[in-house]
Symmetry: C2
Subunit: 131 residues, 2 copies
DNA sequence: CATGCAAATGTAATAGTATTACACTGGATG
DNA sequence: CATCCAGTGTAATACTATTACATTTGCATG
């Protein structure tokens, strides 16, 4: 669990929930977990998630509408991140390789595209779940 | 517009709508366009989209919950596809480069991950819209 | 032609995800 | 104190997708 300093109460609660889960959760799943702590509305979760994403503590998995705590202590350092998502057990691996970013940047550069956010998500079955 | 043979009535209507749009549309936008043609329920759109995706005529853009007609006549040939999506004007470019797929396959191979579907989506501003 | 099956369709209801709008709090700053 | 600003609480609404069930269509087969 990365440095969770400078987080507000709600942000801490959401981040802890995601860290403890050890895998991706939907915003509404987080809400359900935090009802005991006084959460009542989805917006409380979405607002916290937004800040956590800005700080690189949490990533959004676009293809499954879920959020996951960053697994990499130095994540804010690396640029483009890829995720391997197991559709069977839900486990997520964070892949950080320069080799992935390079060909994409080659394209954006030569096409003068100003990239702001890149999502790379591999869906399938992990080693445990295939067979 | 690729060979649209073997398509049922609804599939043809959805595919034509996407092709004519020249850019991504949400399922409900497609539904609105096709109400005149007799469409009444979202499921009619989703069912057609599913078949069109299977045939490689249409791609789903995960990060914006939208669908786009394939721009590449030989798309079924290429494997992993990347998309550059302009958040300002909505234009989508389909990027097909072996160099992108290679490092990802290197990871999946060495981690024994059985990839089924990969989404690569670059969000930002296109040449026209930046500045 | 008649029968039977599989794919496609029509429709309603529901589930799941995300945002807008407005009111309020508390602390920092001058 | 007056002001500002980030964060919060709450309700209502909008947007996206699926489940369930009834019906129709196209086509292969006897
Ligand atoms: Zn990370
Ligand atoms: Zn698994
Ligand atoms: Zn394509
Ligand atoms: Zn643009």
């Amino acid at each position: 669990m990365k440095q969770a300093a400078n987080l507000t109460k709600n942000q801490s609660l959401v981040y802890s929930t995601l860290s403890d889960a050890g895998g991706p959760l939907s915003a509404y799943s987080i809400l359900d977990v935090l009802r005991d702590e006084g959460f009542r509305a989805p917006l409380q979760v979405y607002r916290a998630l937004e800040k956590l994403q800005e700080q690189g503590l949490v990533h959004r998995l676009e293809s499954i509408n879920a959020f996951v705590a960053c697994a990499d202590p130095g994540c804010s350092g690396h640029g483009t991140i890829a995720f391997a998502i197991c559709d069977t057990c839900g486990q997520v691996d964070e892949i950080s390789r320069t080799a992935i970013e390079k060909p994409l940047r080659a394209w954006t550069t030569s096409n003068e595209f100003e990239a702001e956010k890149t999502a790379i998500e591999i869906r399938g079955k992990c080693r445990e779940c295939k067979d």
